[in-house]
């Protein structure tokens, strides 16, 4: 039997990388450095998905975010003049609202984590570990199966939203279609 990979050491390592990357994203002045830090954060997040025995989600995270979206980010950022961007003011004066929002989100997390329903907490310690070799298949069952599938509608609605966004972008960019 394989030793478990999901040890606390890896969790703290990945969490540290994510937080450090996140701080770098907002503190660096150079936009390309920010984008690279964001890529590190996204990759560490893929690692966290792996620790949750969800390799499919981790793979999709790498393909879509690190490989696709961030490349387009960099593509746009490279066209910006760095000299001018470095003179711009980096932080706006909305820290009060920011702290309030962060506190509200943190409070929500703590509330969800400590809430008990019928005497049981939502996230008990020592959950059963899923079989990672079945992850892709179980996601497909949740999406497409006639009886167990219940997320097909939400999935299709989300893709429709994306389609609307694409058409909107084309309409705004092209004067004559």
């Amino acid at each position: 039997m394989n030793p478990p990979v999901a040890t606390p050491f890896f969790f703290y390592l990945l969490a540290f990388v994510m937080i450090a990357g996140g701080i770098l994203v907002i503190t660096r002045k150079n936009a390309v450095h920010c984008a690279l830090a964001l890529i590190t954060t996204l990759l560490a997040q893929a690692g966290l998905y792996l620790m949750l025995y969800a390799p499919f989600v981790a793979g999709v995270q790498i393909i879509l975010y690190a490989g696709g979206i961030m490349v387009l980010f960099l593509f746009v950022i490279m066209l910006i003049s760095i000299e001018r961007a470095e003179k711009e003011r980096q932080f706006n004066k909305q820290w009060l609202v920011g702290i309030a929002a962060a506190a509200a989100l943190g409070g929500l997390f703590i509330a969800v984590y400590t809430t008990t329903t019928q005497g049981r907490v939502l996230f008990p310690e020592g959950r059963m570990s899923y079989v990672e070799t079945q992850n892709t298949q179980s996601i497909a069952m949740l999406l497409f199966d006639q009886h167990a599938g219940m997320y097909m509608f939400a999935f299709e609605i989300a893709s429709l939203l994306l389609l609307v966004a694409i058409i909107g972008a084309v309409v705004m960019a092209k004067k004559r279609i």
Binding site: N2, L36, G59, I62, A66, G67, V71, L74, Q134, N135
Partner: protein
């Protein structure tokens, strides 16, 4: 001590890959073997490309360093290591320093799941092909940052071209891959695992290249075009078009850092070729594993690796005889004879039954990949470079619609019995 020996030897009877069996020792050994094998393949590819291109253009190619220029890649590597490493004054030093490593890491990491045989892979993942596509798509980040960090015009233009090109062709590539994955589901349960995909081809008695003729062939064609664009090779080598951009995104790189880009380019070529081989050409399977099955045919086909090496040795000795008889060529002749002797020795070792059985799957996989590598060189010697708008047109207006239509057709053909039953049921109602 005894436990350690037992831990190491316990894997030898296993029929799984070391990653799946959870044996760290053999996983490390396999990783080192793959790394060394890949480096040797890149060196050999360097020599072969120059030699084959030269012969296509009726030149001789490298002839001076070693017999027939055999030592040329080693001399080149030495030159690159000893060369001065220049970092432009206006460059962003940190990013300039990181960029080649991103490219190399992305190009080498994908080999974790490449199946050289049913047990000859570092590991087998449930998401194998997804992992390969994802990690190899990270290499574009290295190219883009390299071009930007150089802080110079040609590299920046090269990087912009490269990112636009690789993102465009990734879409068509993904569609072709999905159609191959759909074919695996005909065995009962579809799979993304690289080993599972090859086993599905064995179970369905057909390479996916010929499955649902001509659908498999078209999917393979889309992939074969997209993979050349993904690796920035001719005729899609716009990011490093030498007549327009000097050397594109790596213009400002020199010495060791440049050689990292070189290494990454060639190992990425091998990586995408092995995806194509695994998905459409039966991976490690020998030709006709179902039609010509049985012990006799297994025996006959297992002599192929030895026969290949012995043939190569014979060709080398034929050329030893043809070497000029002038005393100046004495060392070169001896060197070539030594090379032939090494090839012949490898061939003789492969005749030995334990080696013969173990190496057969790796041989067939490598032979198929080598075919693709030859195609890469052939393209470079044959096709003129695309213009950028032509490149985008091919990607978005030809490959993408074809890929989408192919996806739907594959689904319809694969589900045809179920679909017909549904339609008949609706008719009766």
């Amino acid at each position: 001590m005894n436990e350690l020996v037992q831990y190491i030897s316990s894997y030898l009877t296993s029929d799984k890959t070391p990653g799946v069996a959870g044996n760290f020792f053999w996983a490390t050994v396999y990783i080192l073997l793959v790394f060394v094998g890949l480096s040797v393949a890149v060196i050999a590819m360097n020599w072969l490309e120059r030699k084959i291109l030269a012969h296509m253009q009726v030149r001789l190619g490298p002839m001076r360093v070693g017999p027939h220029g055999l030592l040329q890649p080693i001399a080149d590597a030495l030159k690159l290591l000893l060369k001065e490493d220049i970092i432009p004054a206006e460059a962003d030093v940190t990013v300039f320093w990181i960029a080649p490593f991103i490219v190399v890491l992305a190009a080498f990491t994908v080999f974790v799941v490449v199946p050289f045989g049913p047990t000859h892979a570092i590991t087998d993942m449930n998401i194998g092909i997804l992992f390969m596509l994802g990690v190899s798509s990270l290499s574009v980040l290295g190219i883009v940052t390299a071009g930007w960090a150089s802080n110079s015009h040609y590299p920046l233009i090269g990087a912009l071209r490269s990112s636009a090109q690789m993102v465009s062709y990734e879409v068509a590539m993904g569609l072709a891959v999905v159609s191959a994955i759909m074919m695996t589901s005909l065995t009962g349960q579809g799979t993304l695992s690289m080993i599972g995909i090859v086993q599905a081809q064995l179970a369905e008695h057909q390479w996916f290249l010929f499955k649902f003729f001509p659908l498999g062939l078209i999917a393979f064609g889309i992939f074969a075009i997209a993979m050349v664009a993904e690796t920035n090779r001719a005729p899609f080598d716009l990011p490093e078009a030498e007549s327009e951009l000097t050397a594109g995104f790596h213009t400002e790189y020199s010495g060791f850092r440049w050689s990292l880009f070189f290494l990454a380019e060639y190992s990425a070529m091998i990586a995408v070729s092995s995806i194509a081989v695994t998905l459409w050409m039966g991976g490690w399977l020998r030709p006709f594993p179902n039609a010509l099955s049985g012990d006799t045919w297994d025996q006959i086909f297992s002599f192929a690796p030895a026969a290949t090496f012995l043939f190569l040795a014979a060709m080398t000795f034929f050329n030893v005889v043809r070497m000029p008889k002038h005393p100046l060529f004495r060392i070169q002749t001896a060197g070539l004879a030594g090379f032939g002797a090494v090839l012949g020795l490898i061939g003789l070792v492969l005749l030995w039954t334990p080696a013969r059985v173990r190496v057969e799957d790796i041989f067939w996989f490598a032979a198929k990949v080598a075919g693709f590598m030859y195609l890469y060189i052939w393209y470079r010697g044959t096709f003129p470079r695309y213009r950028f708008d032509q490149l985008m047109k091919v990607g978005w207006k030809v490959l993408l619609p074809t890929g989408l239509a192919l996806l739907i057709l594959t689904a319809v053909v694969g589900m045809r019995t179920e679909l017909l039953a549904d339609i008949q049921g609706a008719w009766r109602r």
